[in-house]
Symmetry: C2
Subunit: 340 residues, 2 copies
């Protein structure tokens, strides 16, 4: 069995991430990671007639650029894993519509990119694919319209709320070639600690993040200090603090110095009106596929645990009085050519 401990899958061949690309919107292009992204769309409409079609355009931008960067063609991608937040995951479907790539649709809310990367690594490691693609997207305007209020209402949101990132990120994982390695991973279990406020999803997701990271550390017999970075995506400021508290109380470890969160990295909370930070499938997808991948490639980072978190509610389940079930999927990355 290619397993370690209770929940950890091992990828003995350590598949390489051959390339990555991130395409984002205007606000993300005004944030601290502006210089990292491949595409910054000056207008969040991305030349499309609706927000949903704009999100599908972001998907196409990220996917085609990631394939180009790996010097491949769509026909050389054996399988793609993709997902988004829209009802029936239509940003992914319409983004991939013309590409003729075998497509396995995923749903994991904001954990989707980590799950997609896990799947791509497993298919390559198992010898089922030479090249696998992982992608995820979100769009501030399509998400606000679907999950909260039409933008035109100008609704006020509490400080615990996060801003959905307009962006898509894609990575190509390959059996041969150079690049950061995916060495292990973990599929999360649903955790529901009875948080029911959809304007505070960081608090809802924190226990899922703590459970996955805590069990991963136990399975791998590692401590936070073994990593250069434990990267969550996307807990925001409220959820990140709660997650660190839970790891201390439940698992007796403190990721303090090595922990960061994609939702805290993508915007400048002091200058940009983003409340608790960024969120959405596209947040960790775009941040991971650009900045993190670059730092793993150039040696700035050599060991990273990337844990994507998702709040698996819908507006309807909230109206029906349900709490918010959450999940966290994780992959461990090794910089450059390092293998386990």
């Amino acid at each position: 069995m290619k397993r370690l401990g209770k929940y950890t899958f091992t990828f003995e061949s350590a598949p390489a991430i051959l390339s990555g690309a991130g395409s984002v919107g205007k606000a993300e292009g005004e944030g601290p990671l502006a210089h990292e992204f491949d595409f910054i769309n000056e207008n969040d409409g991305v030349g499309a007639s609706t927000w949903e079609k704009a999100e599908a355009s972001l998907v196409r931008q990220a996917v085609t650029l990631a394939i180009d960067k790996a010097r491949l063609t769509p026909a050389e991608i054996d399988v793609a894993f993709a997902g988004d937040l829209l009802n029936q995951c239509t940003a992914s479907t319409f983004g991939f519509r013309e590409l003729q790539i075998p497509l396995a649709g995923l749903f994991g809310a904001c954990s989707t990119f980590a799950l997609a990367l896990f799947m791509a690594a497993l298919f390559v490691d198992g010898g089922y694919a030479k090249h696998a693609l992982a992608e995820a997207s979100s769009h501030f305007c399509s998400a606000e319209k679907q999950f909260r209020m039409p933008l035109e209402y100008g609704g006020q949101r509490p400080q615990t709320a996060q801003r959905t990132v307009t962006g898509a990120g894609a990575c190509i994982v390959g059996a041969k070639g150079t690049g950061p390695r995916i060495v292990r991973g973990c599929v999360g279990r649903i955790t529901d600690m009875d948080v029911s406020d959809p304007a505070n999803m960081g608090a809802a997701m924190a226990p899922a993040a703590a459970a996955t990271i805590g069990e991963y550390l136990l399975d791998t017999k590692t401590v936070p200090e073994d990593y250069d970075l434990i990267l969550t995506g996307d807990l925001g400021s409220v959820g990140a603090a709660l997650m660190r508290d839970l790891l201390r109380s439940d698992y007796g470890c403190d990721p303090g110095a090595v922990h960061n969160d994609c939702g805290l990295m993508v915007f400048d909370a002091k200058k940009q009106d983003v409340h608790a930070g960024g969120s959405g499938c596209g947040c960790s997808a775009a941040v991971f596929s650009t900045k993190i991948l670059r730092e793993l490639s150039n040696g700035t980072l050599s060991r990273v645990l990337f844990a994507g978190t998702g709040a698996l509610m819908s507006p309807l389940t909230t109206l029906q009085g349900e709490s918010i079930p959450c999940i966290c999927h994780a992959v461990e990355l090794a910089g450059g050519e390092r293998r386990l």
Copy 2:
């Protein structure tokens, strides 16, 4: 590479389906497969306060029974693949909420169960899981409410429309043990032939089914007559006829005598008011996990190609004038202990 031809994945260890269970609603329990299902809920409310919670209850029924039948506990399931039609796939999330099983959410509309079975087989074949679970669900009332009209409107639907099955199906795939074998599979590509009528999804999905089945036959150098059954799920009467036409014209083969469709099997079209037949993720999930699995086990069937089809639109994409992108994922089954 564990591959054959252009699109076919091979599972050399031929993982076994250790058990299956199907739980359905009242109309399905009055149809020709009534004697096949494990649970027939006399009331489609399944004792829950909303249709969505009822669907989550169907998920729990099918999952827990499939685990019981395999003489396992939830803690022995290494990974589950599940999905449904509800926005943000909440039937799966809430159905699995208390089970503490690592859960990878899938989205493939009505193709979800075939994709889940493919994933479960690959994880077991690759040595990543001892036991993997595949599950999918749908509910007539939650689907009508979300995709079409509230039931109370009593809206008329055209004869090309299909009736969403109220049901869930689950299978346990294992590395050891007896049962029908999953020997190969295929992840589909999006096919969109510009059909835009959401009341005729059979026509929209037929080209995707023909493309996946046609390429699968080419990859494996087989002809329809090599199979006891080529089972689509769920094209209904309109889509099934179109799919056979397309296989004849595009691939020069005729699956006539060996083709059947879960949507045509689950209801009695003459006696039940179901128009073009059944549909929904739960249709092929419940039919496959009961009748088909039983016939593969007892030798009635020895070689089956199961091709799940999905229409990947949302009500919003239809309102925005988009055609319906479709997909078809396939797995090949071998009866009893037979291996390739």
